[in-house]
Every structure is written in structure tokens, then in C-alpha cells.
């Protein structure tokens, strides 16, 4: 579910880019701190591994097959922050070289898969790692990493005005559940096989600590994504919510005017307004990127 460009409305992609860019900056810093240089080639080769893993098919009954998506496996083997960076790198390469996902939509895709997906994978794994339900934790990691990403993706599409009738949504959710379950099963199988072909591959098993906190985090995360998904599944309700918080549903597109003072001037040319908003969104994103980069580099040097 890589969203291409042309699907998301300006506030949605710009907003998500404004969230993702600094988040990736902070995570990059976190992934680099306290780790030796050897992590950089490791993360790069693992990114290549995830690409190559797509060539190995997992048959699932009558003629159909799936393949590993990798978010959960990366989170389990590398830890959440490096996994998020590796997935961001993969998404960037897919957007640039493989026309799989858009450049403006990169922020959204990173948010869905590298941030939300990895978090959704890490929490259940971490929660159940030291217990007898470890395998369940790994399965849930695989399952949630896909399911949560897909829900966010659908939600963002709906928020941007892509029509999806209710029954289609139901089918989509069913398909996602199957894909997600497959990812869970593959992740469990690969981790199990890894333990057999290379006993002791994993050095530190995370201890279940601060369990309550994690549980709360997990619940909040699930609730938030479910709520987001429900909201987008019910566009009427969404519109009402949007109206309540002062956003306008117009041309099936949520739109915040960045230049309220000039509204009268450009009202005659709605496309001009849209274009202006698009450019403003772009500038805003760039600005945020620049500032975040500066801030991070200064923070690092300090």
C-alpha cells in the first residue's frame, strides 16, 4: 500500500510530511547514538535483504502466494529506531527508482509504514518477548505492522476525498487482514527458522519491563488507529467532525486556506487557491526539514 502522488490532498500530505520529516530526523539521531559505525552497513544490507526477500514466494493454498514485507522482522532484529530508518530508506528508493509510492506522498508512506507500522510491530513484540507467548508477540508484530499501516493508508485516502463505498471498505479490510495474517505467519516462521539455522543469532533478548506503560501505549495506539479508521470509513461522520473543528469539506477535499486575508481575491479562481496552498505546503515542509536538520545537527555537535 504505497500511496502514489496525486491521491492525497495538500493538507494531508503536507501535514504528514511535516510530522514524518522531524520524526525521522530524531530517530536517525537516536539510531546513531550509542551505536558503533558497524550499524550503518548492517542497516543498509538489511534494507537490501528486505528488497530481495520479495523474490521468495510463500505459497498460501490455491495458486496464490505472498511475500515478506519486512517491517516487523526489521523491528525485531534491529530495534525500532534503526528499523524505522531502514524502512524509510526502502520507501525512498521505492519512490525514486521503482515508481512505487509518490515523492510528495513519501511523508505519508513513511508515517504509515516506517513510523506507525514499526511502532505497531515493536509494542506487542516487546510486551510478550520474555513470556511464554513470545510467538504470539512475533505474530502480532507482523500482523499489526501491516494492518495498522493499511488502515492509516485507507484513512488518509478517505480524508483526501477518494470515494470508497462501505461494502468495498469491508472487502478491503478483509483483504488487509489476510495480508496482515500472512505477514505475521511469515515473520514467525522466519524467526523460528533463524533460531534453528543459526542458534544464538540474537544477542540480547529484551526484558519485559515497564509492562503497564507499554500496554497502555499499545492500547492507545490501537484505539487511535481504529478510531481513525472508523472515522474514515464513515465519511459523513468525518465531515461533521471536520466541520466541528473548523475545517471545510469542499470538493471532497479537506482544505485549510493558508491565506485567509486574500480569500476574496482568489475566491474567483479556486484552482489558484489550491495551487497556492500546494506551494505553501511544499515550502512549509521544506522549512520544517531545514529547521529540523539544523536543529539536529546542532544538537549532535553540542
Amino acid at each position: 500500500m504505497h500511496i502514489p502522488d496525486g491521491f492525497l490532498s495538500t493538507p494531508v500530505w503536507a501535514g504528514l510530511a511535516a510530522v514524518s520529516a522531524p520524526a525521522v530526523g530524531v530517530l536517525a539521531r537516536k539510531a546513531q547514538s550509542g551505536l558503533d559505525e558497524s550499524r550503518v552497513p548492517l542497516m543498509g544490507v538489511m534494507g537490501a535483504f528486505v528488497f530481495a526477500a520479495q523474490m521468495i514466494n510463500f505459497p498460501v493454498g490455491i495458486g496464490a502466494s505472498g511475500h515478506l514485507l519486512g517491517g516487523a522482522l526489521l523491528a525485531i532484529t534491529l530495534g525500532p529506531a534503526p528499523a524505522a530508518i531502514v524502512l524509510t530508506a526502502i520507501l525512498a528508493i521505492q519512490a525514486l527508482v521503482f515508481q512505487d509510492g509518490g515523492l510528495l506522498a513519501l511523508g505519508a508512506n513513511v508515517f504509515n509504514m516506517a513510523l506507525a507500522g514499526v511502532l505497531a510491530a515493536w509494542l506487542p513484540y516487546r510486551l510478550l518477548a520474555g513470556t511464554r507467548a513470545r510467538r504470539l508477540g512475533i505474530f502480532l508484530a507482523g500482523f499489526l505492522s501491516v494492518f495498522v499501516s493499511a488502515c492509516f493508508c485507507l484513512g488518509q485516502l478517505a480524508l483526501s476525498g477518494v470515494h470508497m463505498p462501505g461494502h468495498v471498505l469491508a472487502v478491503a479490510v478483509a483483504v488487509f487482514s489476510v495480508t496482515a495474517a500472512l505477514e505475521g505467519a511469515i515473520t514467525v516462521a522466519v524467526v523460528a527458522a533463524l533460531e534453528r539455522v543459526q542458534p544464538g543469532w540474537r544477542r540480547e533478548a529484551p526484558q519485559p519491563g515497564r509492562r503497564l506503560l507499554i500496554l497502555v501505549g499499545l492500547a492507545a495506539f490501537l484505539l487511535a488507529s481504529a478510531g481513525f479508521f472508523l472515522a474514515s470509513a464513515l465519511p459523513d461522520g468525518l465531515e461533521r467532525v471536520a466541520g466541528l473543528v473548523g475545517l471545510q469539506g469542499r470538493e471532497q477535499t479537506l482544505f485549510v486556506s493558508p491565506f485567509p486575508d486574500y480569500e476574496a481575491l482568489v475566491i474567483a479562481n479556486p484552482w489558484l487557491r489550491n495551487a497556492a496552498a500546494g506551494l505553501a505546503g511544499l515550502l512549509l515542509t521544506l522549512l520544517v526539514c531545514l529547521l529540523a536538520g539544523r536543529w539536529i545537527s546542532r544538537w549532535r555537535n553540542a
Binding site: A193, R196, V197, Q198, P199
Partner: protein, 229 residues
């Protein structure tokens, strides 16, 4: 007919347009050992991959008197034993014994018999114990021998070896050589190790940009192409 491999005018082009084979003619007789020499990228590996139908090109190809087509693939793959260059690529079971028993199990043998055969073949290649170790911990030479055992376990009629000596030290090469010399099957060996090829194969075939440039006694071929340091 006693031809185990019979290729005529075999051509193959990879998806991306690389013409890897441009008309290969080769006959391999029963029990014969032939070395496939030739520069890097000349299409040797590509040719081998046709012999059990992993790649499918145009032209005429019969293996063990069967055309290499979909209905015969299962039979052919059981008759053709394929040793790849890097043993890491073909050892994927949790223990040595399971790995060697894999082929027989796939062929439908019951587990006790498959494991019995695996044990026998492992002894044959000189691995007498430690059968429940994972392959991950083996040395290059041991891996190479386990991979060979995995192939011998399906009792093939032809052995296809793609650069089998790469990671081996000279004594391990000699052990492998001696083992291969005792095996009665026909052999097709791709190698850059001319000494090994000389010792194993009386006949050689020289590949050059997807075609066979020469076919004859190995000493003659090595001389003609100055194929030695």
C-alpha cells in the same frame, strides 16, 4: 541411445535482453566427465540451469532421453544432481542430516529410509559424525561435502557441478576429486581450476559468449586458449 545430455541449438535470452546462449550443441555420454571451461560471463552457469529446466530456452534439449518440458521436470530433477558454486546457497535445513535427507523426502521416501540413506551418503563423503549440527557452523570444505551428499542422496544419473572447488584448500580439493572419480555418474563440471579439471575430465568444452568455441581433449583445449596461469 546412451546420451545423457543432448543439446542442439540451445538459445536463451534473459528477461533484460542479455543473450546468454546463442546456439549451444553438446552431447554427454553415459559415465563421461566433461569440463566446461570459459571466461566469466560466457554463459556456463546459464547453460547448466537449463539441464534441469530451471531456465527454459529455445532449441532442442534432452536429458536422460527425456525432453526438458513441464511434464518431465520432476523426473528430470530427480535424475540430475546439481551442486552450486556457493554451498551456502543450498544448505537451508536446520541440521546436516535433515539437509541431506531433504531430496529423498521430497521424492516421497518415508522418513526412516530417507534418513538411513542420508547417513550412508554422509559417510561416503567423509562426514562420519555430528549429523545433528546446523550447517551454519561448518567450514567451507565441509559445507561443500554436505551439499554434495545432499545431491548424491537422490541417486542421480548426471552430476552437474558449478565451480565446486572455490572455497576448498588443496587437500580438500583432492578429497573431492577422489570422491568424484569413484562415482560412476556422468559429470559436467564448470570450473576455473584447471588442475582440478585436468585431473577429473579427459574431455573439455570451451564456452565463449554463449557458444561452444571448442570441444576436445582437455590438454589440447587448455593449450589452445592458454587457459592456465
Amino acid at each position: 541411445m546412451s546420451c545423457v545430455v543432448n543439446a542442439r541449438g540451445l538459445r536463451f535470452r534473459y528477461e533484460d535482453g542479455t543473450e546468454a546462449l546463442r546456439g549451444v550443441d553438446l552431447h554427454l555420454h553415459k559415465g563421461e566427465s566433461v569440463a566446461l571451461l570459459g571466461p566469466n560471463r560466457s554463459g556456463k552457469t546459464t547453460f547448466l540451469l537449463h539441464l534441469n529446466g530451471i531456465l527454459r530456452g529455445d532449441g532442442d534439449l534432452r536429458v536422460c532421453d527425456l525432453p526438458v518440458t513441464a511434464p518431465h521436470l520432476t523426473t528430470i530433477r530427480r535424475k540430475v544432481g546439481f551442486l552450486f558454486q556457493d554451498p551456502e546457497d543450498q544448505l537451508f535445513r536446520p541440521t546436516l542430516l535433515e539437509d541431506v535427507a531433504f531430496g529423498p523426502l521430497q521424492a516421497g521416501l518415508p522418513r526412516p529410509e530417507a534418513e538411513e540413506r542420508a547417513r550412508r551418503v554422509l559417510c561416503q563423503v567423509g562426514i562420519g559424525d555430528g549429523w545433528d549440527r546446523p550447517p551454519y557452523h561448518l567450514s567451507g570444505g565441509e559445507k561443500q561435502r554436505v551439499a554434495l551428499a545432499g545431491i548424491l542422496a537422490v541417486q542421480p544419473e548426471v552430476l552437474i557441478l558449478d565451480e565446486p572447488t572455490t572455497h576448498l584448500d588443496p587437500p580438500a580439493r583432492r578429497t573431492l576429486l577422489d570422491l568424484l572419480l569413484t562415482l560412476p555418474q556422468a559429470k559436467l563440471v564448470v570450473t576455473h581450476d584447471t588442475a582440478f579439471a585436468r585431473a577429473l575430465c579427459p574431455r573439455a568444452v570451451f564456452f565463449e559468449s554463449g557458444r561452444i568455441a571448442a570441444d576436445g581433449p582437455i590438454a589440447q583445449i587448455i593449450d589452445r586458449f592458454a587457459w592456465e596461469i
